[in-house]
Amino acid sequence: MKQSKSAKVLSYAVVTLLLVLYIVPLLLVFNVSFKSFTEYLLNPIGLVSDIQWNNYKDAWTQGNFSNYFLNSLLYTGVATVLTLIVSLFGAFPVARNYVRWSGLIYLFFLLSQFLPNPMVAQFKLMLAMKQEFGFVGYDTKLGYILLKTSGTGIVFMMFTGYIKSISRELDEAAGMDGCGYSRYLFQIVLPLMKPVIATGVILTAIGIWNDFVGPVMYLPSPANYPITFGLKEFRGQYGNNWPMLACGIMIVSTPLIVLYTFIQKYIVDGALAGAVKA
């Protein structure tokens, strides 16, 4: 069908308007991050005249971002890897009917999407774990990682769906050759699942990296802050010193933006796969 010219122009106009609404805030933050506080007060919007590279250095050291960054890396890395392995343990036998009541187990995992908010009891559980064992639970790195590791939800659904498309004869051939179950999972199934694993990794990692509420609730000591919570504290420290805070925003978001430009295709497709199949 042919497009009328005015409709086309109107379409571009709408999208461009929205684009401005999405990009301009980030550009303004970028601009402000180079200003001195006085220059910001005198001229908050105008283009920076005297670039203050030191802002970034100050923000980085005073915000303690290197520590928080490492913490975030630790939580995200470990919990993501564990989530994927654990999801594989759950999804494979359920997809293949290798355990009894596979259908019921699938439903049980599916239920995770519709349960009542577990916040209150989770908090109590974390406190109890801390009291009982000390090294796990409330305000411990291990406790937080365990809480963030879940073999359920979207990754589990995606894995189950994908495994069903892997030929069953492969299992039989491997079994005939004497391959054990766990070896089969890691050496044959895992490599075959590369595309769905890529999406799973990205979705899980974004979720854990960006979690804001979890750290506020479970990680009260500064030694355990991830970067999201570090940014919140940094804000408390600097009030309305926007050039400094803008540096903080840029420090936290630049790695994400760079990473996103490289793997955005997977993220966008992955978000889709996750949402539609959920």
Partner: protein, 297 residues
């Protein structure tokens, strides 16, 4: 048939499956069930204190106790939040998806940009908009001033703060809904439009009768996501106003009463259950309505 050996090794899949099951039961399913149980007890957060069954007292307290006025306000506010977010977010997302779907140049760039806020996360998004909405030097206030000669307190305004939070929520998640609509639009077969064109349908008719009917599944998913999302979101509130200036929602109240308020755990549990029931009702109604519209072709 299980191909990986007999005897003991038959149990390996089950043993490995126990790990995800245990994690799920321990951290999600168990706490969910416990929250429901707690809601009928007088449990506190003081270690070592037992709990006593007190029936529906907590539910009574949610609606009829000292500061229940505030709680009822937040329930109403949550419903308002859900309606606006669901309608506006999906409306804008559908419009953008339809526009982008007509082979606009740079469509991949557009959708990447609109999805960017989800990648950046709540901490960054909230701070970016706090800067944009700064009452003293923020760019938006300068714009308001130049256009209408008017200034606002934004996140510091008792009457407006919540509207700005709704704006930020929609700004953040519009791209997500848009993607889901795009996926739906791309699965509509082109022949249907051609057939319609031959039959002389107008643009609006073909949108109303072909597109709209065939993307019903995406609508269902989007409705579910925005209802559940909006009813349980409070991280944006926590990161912008921290519940001040009349911006508390149910989810925020649950958080507040569990972690910072009294040591009582029964009341926030009851509040969680109420929240869950509201979500359930809306989800069931929405799915029923949507299912009616889904067509086979």
């Amino acid at each position: 048939m299980y191909p990986f050996g007999k005897g003991i090794s038959r149990f390996v899949p089950f043993l490995l499956l126990l790990i995800p099951l245990a994690l799920y039961v321990m951290f999600y399913f168990g706490p969910s069930v416990m929250t429901v149980i707690y809601s009928f007890t007088n449990i506190t957060n003081v270690p070592g204190n037992g709990m006593k069954f007190i029936g529906l007292d907590n539910y009574h307290d949610v609606f009829f106790s000292g500061n229940s006025g505030e709680r009822v306000d937040s329930i109403i506010r949550t419903l308002y939040f859900m309606f606006i977010v669901t309608v506006v977010q999906n409306g804008v997302a559908l419009l953008v998806a339809v526009i982008i779907n007509q082979k606009l140049k740079g469509d991949y760039f557009f959708r990447s940009v609109f999805f960017l806020p989800v990648v950046l996360g709540v901490a960054v998004v909230a701070l970016v908009w706090s800067m944009m909405f700064d009452p003293l030097s923020g760019p938006v206030n300068q714009l308001y001033n130049a256009l209408f000669g008017y200034k606002d307190m934004f996140f510091g305004s008792f009457t407006h703060a919540f509207r700005y939070i709704i704006f930020v929520q929609i700004w953040m998640y519009m791209g997500y809904s848009m993607l889901i609509f795009l996926a739906g639009l791309q699965s509509v077969p082109k022949e249907l439009y051609e057939a319609g064109y031959i039959d002389g349908t107008t643009k609006w008719q073909s949108f109303r009768h072909i597109t709209f009917s065939l993307i019903a599944p995406s609508f269902t998913v989007n409705m579910l996501l925005s209802i559940i999302g909006a009813m349980s979101t409070f991280d944006i509130i926590l990161a912008t106003t921290d519940g001040r200036f009349n911006t508390r929602t149910m989810a925020y109240d649950v958080y507040k009463e569990t972690f910072r308020g009294s040591l009582e755990m029964g009341l926030p549990s009851a509040l969680s259950v109420v929240q869950f029931l509201i979500i359930l009702v809306f989800v069931i109604v929405a799915v029923k309505q949507m299912r009616k519209r889904e067509v086979e072709y």
